[in-house]
């Protein structure tokens, strides 16, 4: 059995505010800028609407989430590029309490 993931490491937690991010399939800025492609965009798949043609221009037909957050380096490119400020990344810092990054550039003081 192989363990490709680093066991015991705390990965960043990425949350996307779906009330702000409503047309991700048209915007797709974060999807295309992420160097490690941690984001996924998918249709809302309910049983009733499974076979429907989903118009990406209609609000909330598509949703965005971050299934591959193990590869997130918190470079904040997605936060900078997001036009509606919907993305938040929580970084685990062992010595302090949890800190939210607010789109601060690397090396810059908060």
């Amino acid at each position: 059995m192989t363990y490709p993931l680093p066991m015991g490491r705390k990965f960043p937690k990425i949350s996307v505010d779906l009330t702000k991010c409503t047309v991700p399939y048209l915007c797709k800025k974060c999807l295309q800028i992420c160097p490690m492609a941690v984001f996924h965009v998918t249709r809302v798949m309910s049983k009733e609407r499974r076979l429907e043609e989903m118009d990406p221009r209609v609000d909330s037909n598509y949703v965005i989430f971050a299934p591959r957050r193990d590869k997130c380096t918190v470079c904040n490119l997605c936060i900078d590029v997001c036009p509606v400020n919907a993305i938040k990344i929580e970084v685990h810092k062992p010595e302090k309490a949890k800190v939210e990054t607010k789109g601060v550039q690397w090396g810059q003081q908060e």
Binding site: T2, P4, L5, Y25, L31, Q32, H40, R50, E53, R68
Partner: protein, 280 residues
């Protein structure tokens, strides 16, 4: 022999390889998904891709906890759910295309999910569906939103060689074992299958070959190192040659087809004792 060959191979044809066993392409092997099975809908949750059961997200959570036993359990469950897939080099891919009919080019769902790339016409398609399952397109065209382009064997081979030239790994997929139904063209990090294999150990199994470099012919141009999607082949600075880590090598053959001097050859995996049974 990998477990797929043991289950689905035929020693009388195709050297016992499961994907050269013509009966695995037969239309009566194809099963329509039973009603109520498969995708469960949004209520199951986004992280699972609307499938029931454990997901990549659960694997990441288990790794965060450092829980090896739980990681094992989730990995086993995901492997049991997967229907099986294997990396196939270009030479074998040509033989596969001769066995299957019909062949349809379609839009890649992984690149759509991961980078929101819409492949809306036949020049952009980077995925291939094979066998009688593709005829579902006539009945449910809404399931193939980018459309389908049916091609003959020669066109399919030409397309596959073009994909190889661009640098995609060929991964053959079972759709309802033992029916062979799809041929993915993958790269890292966009492709789900390839990424699951490299990052999580739940993807396709390695191919029946490993790459080997002839140091007399290699001039250290580094083209093969650009083409390796698995992190197995690197440029060794000390002696200015390509260097393959056979334990990471998946035998996709991209380095071989890319080498301008013919310095790389594919060996049978069984001929290298240390990696003969390394399938993941």
């Amino acid at each position: 022999m990998c477990f797929l060959c043991e289950q689905f191979g035929d020693t009388k044809q195709g050297k016992g390889l499961w994907y050269l066993n013509a009966s695995n392409y037969a239309r009566n092997m194809y099963k329509l998904r039973a009603p109520g099975e498969g995708f469960k809908g949004a209520e199951v949750g986004l992280e699972t891709g609307a499938r029931s059961g454990p997901s990549i997200g659960d694997l990441i959570n288990a790794a965060e906890k450092g829980d090896f036993a739980e990681y094992d359990k989730i990995q086993q469950a995901m492997l049991a759910r997967g229907q099986g897939s294997q990396v196939v080099p270009l030479e074998d891919a040509d033989k596969v295309l001769e066995l299957s009919s019909p062949i349809g080019l379609i839009a890649c769902i992984c690149r759509k999910d991961c980078r929101a790339i819409d492949e809306r016409n036949e020049l952009e398609y980077t995925c291939m569906g094979m066998g009688v399952g593709m005829l579902k397109w006539e009945r449910w065209p809404e399931r193939y939103k980018g459309g389908v382009k049916f091609v003959n064997i020669e066109e399919a081979k030409e397309w596959n060689h073009e994909m190889d030239r661009r640098g995609f790994v060929h991964i053959l997929m079972l759709f309802g074992a033992p029916f062979i139904g799809g041929f993915c063209q993958c790269d890292y990090p966009d492709c789900g299958a390839l990424r699951n294999a490299v990052d999580f150990g739940v993807g396709p199994i390695k191919g029946h070959y490993v790459a080997s470099v002839n140091y007399d012919k290699c001039n250290g141009c580094g083209i093969c190192a650009q083409r390796c999607q698995w992190g197995a082949l690197k440029f060794e600075v000390t002696n200015e040659k390509a260097n393959v880590d056979l334990f990471k090598c998946y035998g996709c053959g991209l380095c071989q087809t890319g080498c301008p001097r013919g310095a790389i050859s594919l060996l049978d995996r069984s001929s290298v004792p240390a990696v003969a049974e390394v399938w993941r």
